[in-house]
Point group: C2
Chain length 225, copies 2
């Protein structure tokens, strides 16, 4: 009798998942900000989500929410669809990596289980999307990898880029132009002392790439031995 989740609720759960992935609870105002709606509306919905049977979230009044197992599974289902779609658009329909996020944001709510399977099969059950983000498998298990933020590289050290988990097309186009994408090997040339901006070089290229600390901490790599 677990009935279909509305488009709306899927978005809430997805956002809560993203925020709570790194441990803490998701606050009302954080959610209001990423969803682009008022805090009052978020409170309202969180109460609904926590009082439904079965509940999707655990609501700690004034202290944010966390997902129940059901809520987490629902979020992962959407995340799987989102990332499969992104990969499909790039691999099969000639999209650039900066064009896929917005498109997937809409399509993820329109995918039937059958279509999800067909897309997964057409891609050979891919484990990563175009940004290097892991795609949960059909049982919603995340391929988890040991990842290091790019900013943790020591000067002179090198590593391979794993993820560039950014949605903003402008940022992605900047990185694309510099050649910084999942798979390439980079070397840390220097780090500015005060603001921790880093200077990189892609193996085999001469050009120097400048990455601010906020962006650099989101990009993850595997450090070379």
């Amino acid at each position: 009798m677990t009935q279909d989740i509305s488009h709306n609720i899927q978005d809430y759960l997805k956002r809560i998942y993203e925020i709570t992935r790194s441990g803490q609870k998701a606050s009302t105002s954080q959610l209001a900000q990423v969803l682009g709606i008022s805090a009052a509306s978020v409170t309202n919905m969180l109460q609904k989500l926590s009082k439904s049977s079965p509940p999707y979230v655990i609501y700690h009044k004034h202290h944010g929410v966390e997902l129940t197992e059901l809520g987490k599974a629902s979020a992962l289902k959407i995340l799987r669809r989102h990332r499969l779609i992104e990969q499909y658009l790039v691999e099969k329909l000639g999209y650039a990596w900066d064009e896929v996020h917005e498109e997937a944001e809409i399509l993820e709510h329109a995918l039937s289980p059958l279509l999800e399977n067909r897309i997964d099969a057409a891609l050979g059950s891919p484990r990563f999307d175009p940004h290097g983000d892991p795609i949960p498998d059909a049982n919603l298990n995340m391929p988890n990898m040991q990842q290091t933020p790019l900013t943790h590289l020591a000067v002179g050290e090198s590593g391979s880029v794993i993820r560039v988990p950014h949605e903003d097309p402008q940022v992605l186009r900047y990185l694309e132009k510099s050649g910084l994408r999942p798979g390439v090997q980079v070397k840390l040339l220097s780090r500015t002392p005060y603001d921790q901006t880093i200077h990189l070089q892609i193996t085999g290229k001469n050009e120097e790439i400048i990455i601010g600390p906020n962006l650099g901490s989101q990009i993850t790599i595997k450090v070379d031995d």
Copy 2:
């Protein structure tokens, strides 16, 4: 300032288009029936659609509605997306022709203009969908064809099947099993006198296919010279 049309309204316009294609106006109760909602709700929405600026329909109180040019263009846009999706699912993702309608019904509302173009290009701008229904081109012009209902065949005459415009998977699977699909050549063997049920044979096959008059009048053919 022509803002985005809601999912809902797209469905109304699509249905009105389907009903009014054959000339007459679309009545409140016809729409209520195909949309699966009450007649009162339909009246309400039709009034809204006729009073919006610009209006999507012309509302003749107690006598049904017809589409304005804008309404027709909006309906054709959705119809194009619907049929492109059906064709894509069959050609690129291994769907059977009885599985695509429901899927397209949802996806048609989630397609961006860019994705519509990519799908169109990937298919080489197809002119027909898997049921033989014509796909409006990018300017919303319908490839129009001289079509004859299957039931107009004389006994002994033959023709090529052009369209099998049915949505019901059961019907489609029955026809599929008999081999009756767009492109095949059929010959009318006989017609029962009272209820006009017809008996067909597909060129090159021995099996006889029985088609009732309601179904037969929806299937269209091109009569052989």
